[in-house]
Symmetry: C2
Subunit: 254 residues, 2 copies
Amino acid sequence: MVKMVTETYIPRNRLFVLDDLSAGQAIELSAPQAHYLRNVLRFQDGEIVALFNGRDGEWAAQYLSQGKKTALAQVQQLLRPQNNIPDIWLVFALLKSDPMDFIAQKATELGVAALLPARTERTVVGRINIERMRNHVQEAAQQCERLEVPMVRECASLDEILANWDGSRILLYGDETGAGQSLCGLFPQRPEKLAVLIGPEGGFSARELDRLRTLPYALGINLGPRILRAETAALAALTATQLFWGDWEKVRGA
Amino acid sequence: MVKMVTETYIPRNRLFVLDDLSAGQAIELSAPQAHYLRNVLRFQDGEIVALFNGRDGEWAAQYLSQGKKTALAQVQQLLRPQNNIPDIWLVFALLKSDPMDFIAQKATELGVAALLPARTERTVVGRINIERMRNHVQEAAQQCERLEVPMVRECASLDEILANWDGSRILLYGDETGAGQSLCGLFPQRPEKLAVLIGPEGGFSARELDRLRTLPYALGINLGPRILRAETAALAALTATQLFWGDWEKVRGA
């Protein structure tokens, strides 16, 4: 039984693939994806799944099982063209596993373009499992109907990140000292490239704050009158950034 | 050894109490609070803890052990006067335990005044542990330096909540149909009383949306072009509400 793809048909299941997508192509699904469709969702041959790769938009594809562990997806028709998302990054100091998973999921839902884990002077957590974060980010992108998966950079020290910074990308850092600027009306024009930087639970060191204050592309921002946990601050700052300079005002599907 | 309270001294430890607070009073701490100070933080007699009750501001108090399980706090001096917080409520459809804990903690950090758990037609989760939520909210309030603990109402159906609604409180509901209004510039004047309403994972039913659309105090809002999980939507909407009509612009300590 083959489900017809109509203009109003929106598949509930979306998978991210690396291959190019165009009508008529047969994509070999990864083993976990084939397992997910066959054993979790109980897909039958001919059922429709949506595919996206971050470049070619979202496509309807027919599921076709191939033996016990593999499956193909036969690409049929374009559901949504690729669109440009706001170029907003999140640089965040390493946190414990739970809040870091939280950041991966929520920042993806909030439309972040890239995640940059950083070690700062007061960072307590020593390491990050980048593969785990990439998996969380991909899963979240599939679920929240994004057409691209945010980039997750390898972890680096804040010093290294700043040393290699593209000065045309404005860096908004959460300033806990009360000296941060108000977000409302901060930029008369929408900046092309933005990043939000959130420090660790203990805040930035005096040296880090001094350095940030000398950078021509960095601006301290006020994140409100309450003390926010690092992951809450990241989420609130991303929300505000999308609201003022991102794509929040865009209606879904438009 | 008695630590002196100076104007710049900010105690790292804050406890919520029910008693009135004024200079010279001796407050009997609850058994868990006494245990926390004595056994977790290793408090010695004379050390300073901050107390708040949501009415009288924040006070420095001296810890004094009393036997093995009880302790007194001798109220000394006012650290911060009580301030009024924005009257912003969150009405949310019941979720599973983890996202509900998340809402309790993050909504408190973001300065919500009251949390109202609701059953909607598509709510899958049947029950909520109100005591657990109240504990989470109190803990978060202690940590984020709020001077009050958000009210947590008993769970009710959305119909009941709307039937008893004070029509002077504007109700902003997340409208997933794309018909929601833009938040920027929604109100020319800051509304006195606001609430945000977030539906369950499956969204509001057609009947609920129809009802919401007829209510003079209710407004559907646009929460951006991506599909947000219910708990992310709640936090993003609260962030935006604080940013536009709340106290976000207030600097900490001011």
